[in-house]
């Protein structure tokens, strides 16, 4: 059995609100299903479940704001869900007194003497009775936690010490009366040296999600710690150790490319506020909160990143005439606009200019694998999001157009999935539709580059010694001088230009230009 917890949809997110449950207790779910819609202070995100099984209990009602990591629902996995009736003696018959029943064969014996009988009937009637050993029960009492109401992670549904401690830390399962008491027994300190992350408590690896088959992820302790620090889930990582164990080297150095999107997503995302800059953004939702997080991130960007800027003007004549031919037979919904081709060229160029595609972390540049193309999307009310098109360098222009249209639509209507909020490796911003001809971006930390496109305009242009009227676009690059020099930035823009002079290329084979 597993707990479905409030996901972190950005490194700066500490709390979220379930605005909609799409499942009810008893529903069968499979890994990847959207089971809830979560409202962060910046956006409304559909959240996937990472475990297959049956929804047992919804622990958090719609509208209640909870911290990241708080269990939202319990999911009974595979074998545990075999209908209730027979093999659950502790639940069915309370043999109240001393004659505690021996552990059933189906449930491995807990280390403690005997499963305690369930409590009279006071607590919020869990679907299955929990087995709580006397020691754990004692600890729960000390910490002011209602052990019966906790999700149990032990074998056979045993509530473990870790469950109690985790719940105490989260302030969970506490009967209202006893909550504030906590008789001087704070939860034990984290076993590991707590990394200095202000974003969320990761001193000890959070209880990890388990893969869909319910098996435990085999990972070294160091890898677990690194994953917790990076905010990635172990079961999303491919282990290269013995027997497929996840080792530290398998954990990405930055909170990037995690398909769960735990890494970072929105403008404010990637940046866990540094120690000197506590997350002061008020925990209020709505436009003010979004504005505040954009403000914090952009201020940090300009404070920390030595930007340099390059500009070039690119002739889109060939692209435009090609597009005219391609689009002529298509219904409006399928037509490709120049913006998609510009994104396509940027993604391809980023793949070959790797110094601009990645993250500046811990005083060093870490190139990303593949191009996770962030697309700045402005929202009504002044909001700004940069959802990601994963592996954009492998897509052709048609596919990019489709993704772009879909992503923009859903970003503006609050339907983004967590996996689309992952950390981009480079971002494009296009203000062409507003009529401006140039935009100089502010880099989203920890990325190191932002490419800006202005409006496509008709200009008198010299083409092989003749003046022609051509559609041209001004492309700018804002880049982090710590990671690259102007020379490399110039190569990126030159690559974009070159790609746009071969208009058939965007529809050709989708093999990425470099191995990634």
């Amino acid at each position: 059995m597993g707990a479905f917890t409030m996901p972190s949809l950005g490194a700066d997110m500490d709390r979220g609100t379930v605005v909609e449950w799409r499942v009810a207790p008893g529903d069968r779910v499979s890994r990847g299903d959207i089971i809830a819609v979560v409202d962060t202070e910046k956006s409304t995100v559909e959240v996937e479940v990472f475990e297959s099984g049956v929804v047992e209990e919804l622990l958090v009602p719609v509208g209640e704001e909870v911290e990241v990591g708080t269990p939202l629902a319990t999911i009974a996995s595979g074998e545990a869900i075999q209908p209730l009736p027979a093999p659950s003696p502790p639940a069915a018959s309370p043999p109240a007194a001393s004659a505690a029943p021996p552990p059933t064969p189906s449930s491995p014996p807990s280390r403690s003497p005997a499963p305690s009988p369930p409590p009279p009937s006071a607590s919020p009637v869990p679907v299955r009775a929990h087995v709580v050993s006397p020691l754990v029960r004692h600890l729960a009492e000390e910490l002011g936690v209602d052990a019966e109401a906790l999700p149990a992670s032990g074998p056979g549904g045993v509530v473990t010490r870790a469950d109690v401690v985790a719940a105490a830390r989260l302030g969970l399962g506490v009967p209202p009366a006893t909550q504030p008491s906590g008789p001087g027994a704070p939860p034990p300190p984290p076993a590991a040296p707590a990394p200095p992350s202000a974003a969320r408590p990761v001193g000890r690896p959070r209880r990890a999600r388990v893969p869909s088959d319910g098996a435990r992820v085999v990972a070294s302790p160091y890898a677990r710690r690194r994953a917790a620090e990076a905010g990635v889930e172990l079961c999303d990582l491919a282990g290269t150790g013995p027997g497929g164990a996840v080792l530290a080297r398998d954990v990405p150095a930055t909170p990037s490319v995690s398909v769960t999107g735990v890494g970072a997503a929105t403008p404010a995302a990637a940046a866990a506020p540094s120690a000197s800059e506590p997350a002061s953004a008020p925990l209020r939702r709505g436009p003010e909160a979004l504005r505040a997080s954009v403000a914090a991130l952009m201020a940090r960007s300009k404070r920390e990143i030595p930007h340099y800027y390059l500009r070039t003007t690119i002739d889109l004549g060939l692209v435009r005439s090609w597009l005219d031919r391609v689009n002529v037979d298509r219904p409006p919904g399928d037509r490709v606009v120049p913006a998609a081709v510009l994104c396509w060229a940027t993604a391809r160029a980023a793949a070959t200019n790797r110094g601009l595609n990645g993250h500046w972390v811990d005083d060093g540049f870490r190139p990303a694998s593949g191009v996770q193309l962030g697309v700045a999307v402005s929202l009504r009310g002044g909001g700004l999001l940069a959802p990601v098109i994963p592996d954009a360098d492998t897509l052709d222009a048609d596919e990019l157009m489709r993704r772009l249209r879909d992503l923009t639509e859903r970003a503006r209507h609050g339907g983004l999935k967590a996996s689309e909020m992952a950390d981009p490796s480079i971002t494009v911003t296009n203000l062409g539709d507003t009529g401006v001809e140039e935009v100089y971006g502010v880099i989203y930390p920890p990325q190191v580059a932002m490419v800006g496109f202005g409006k496509v305009v008709e200009r008198a242009w010299v083409v092989t010694d003749r003046i022609e009227v051509r559609p041209v676009v001004t492309v700018t690059l804002a880049a982090d001088h710590r990671a690259t020099n102007g020379h490399e930035g110039a190569r990126l823009l030159a690559t974009i230009d070159r790609l746009l002079q071969d208009p058939e290329e965007p529809w050709s084979a989708t093999e990425p230009p470099t191995s990634s």
């Binding site: 076993a191 590991a192 070294s220 302790p221 160091y222 890898a223």
Partner: protein, 323 residues
């Protein structure tokens, strides 16, 4: 100065006898014969039979005499031929030397130094070849030393004699002929810290005593394969230097413990447990161990070699840890 481990040990004995009239050496064949491993050769002639005393073949008797002499104010150095025979004196060492300070409420110290050889590799068969130092490292009240270099052979005796409590020095039999450089101005070494004998970044090899040369050779071989191993020489087996271990493993994230003891209940188990306790969240691989085969050490050369940890075994365990 170029010298051998044996000569360095003898120089240390000579200096101790010369510096302090309370110091005397006793044991089987330490005088007229010059010591079973020729460590005390010439000292009888130099210091006389009062200071360098041959004893009857009764470990219990002469170790007990050493305990009594120490309690009475002397600074005895007792040599036991090998650790195997020290079992005959176990009662004196564990029940008396190690406990008297505590049982007398702090009234009596036992400033005794016991030297003994340990280890295999010289075809001396099971009753002369075992590595039982881990047993002594189990006992509170003792300090247990394992000099693995010429410098430690020269430098550890003086601080051991200065210790008001019993100290056991384990000299691995295969080290006596080892040559090394000794600074001319030899001074006592400190006994509280393990030594990093070779810095590295990829894993930590923890060892002591007779295995140190093998582990350093293994580290060279690993380096040729691109694995930079850090080699820690424990030097003092009790009390263990947790800080040096933890600092190293926190950096390298992998550890392999190498010693000549049996793994079951051995010193390597203690070291591995401490690493797991202190560095759990830094470990990227299980703590590995290389020890002797769990058999009495065989006499036949090829079988003895097969039973003992060898350079290739260390390399293999290290590569597994970093795989």
């Amino acid at each position: 100065m170029r010298t051998t481990y044996r000569d360095a040990m003898r120089a240390a004995l000579r200096q101790a006898l010369a510096d302090d009239p309370r110091v005397f050496l006793m044991g089987e064949d330490v005088g007229r014969y010059g010591g079973c491993f020729a460590v005390s050769l010439g000292l009888l002639e130099e210091f006389g039979p009062e200071r360098v005393r041959d004893t009857p073949l009764s470990e219990s008797a002469f170790v007990g005499a050493g305990v009594g002499a120490a309690m009475a104010g002397m600074r005895p150095i007792v040599e036991i031929m090998t650790v195997n025979f020290s079992l005959l004196a176990l009662d004196q060492i564990v029940n008396n030397a190690a406990t008297i300070l505590h049982m007398s409420g702090g009234q009596f110290n036992v400033p005794l130094v016991i030297r003994m050889t340990t280890g295999a590799g010289r075809q001396l068969a099971a009753q002369h070849s075992h590595s039982l130092e881990g047993w002594y490292a189990h006992v509170p009240g003792l300090r247990v030393l394992a000099p693995a270099t010429v410098e430690d052979a020269r430098g550890m005796l003086a601080p051991a004699l200065a210790d008001p409590d019993p100290v056991i020095i384990f000299e691995h039999g295969s080290l006596y002929a080892m040559e090394g450089d000794l600074p001319d101005d030899t001074r006592p070494v400190e006994l509280d810290h393990a030594a990093v004998r070779r810095p590295g970044r990829d894993l930590t090899l923890v060892t002591y005593g007779g295995c140190l040369p093998k582990v350093l050779a293994a580290a060279d071989a690993l380096s040729a394969e691109g694995v930079e191993a850090e080699v820690i020489d424990l030097r003092t087996l009790r009390p263990l230097d947790d800080d040096t271990l933890a600092e190293s493993v926190a950096r390298t994230h992998r550890a392999v413990v190498v010693d000549e003891g049996w793994r079951t209940g051995g010193l390597s188990a203690e070291v591995a447990a401490r690493i797991s306790e202190q560095c759990f969240w830094d470990l990227d691989a299980p703590v590995g161990r290389v020890g002797s085969a769990e058999v009495p050490i065989p006499y036949a050369k090829h079988m003895e070699e097969a039973a003992l940890p060898q350079v290739d075994d260390v390399v293999a365990a290290a590569l597994e840890a970093v795989s």
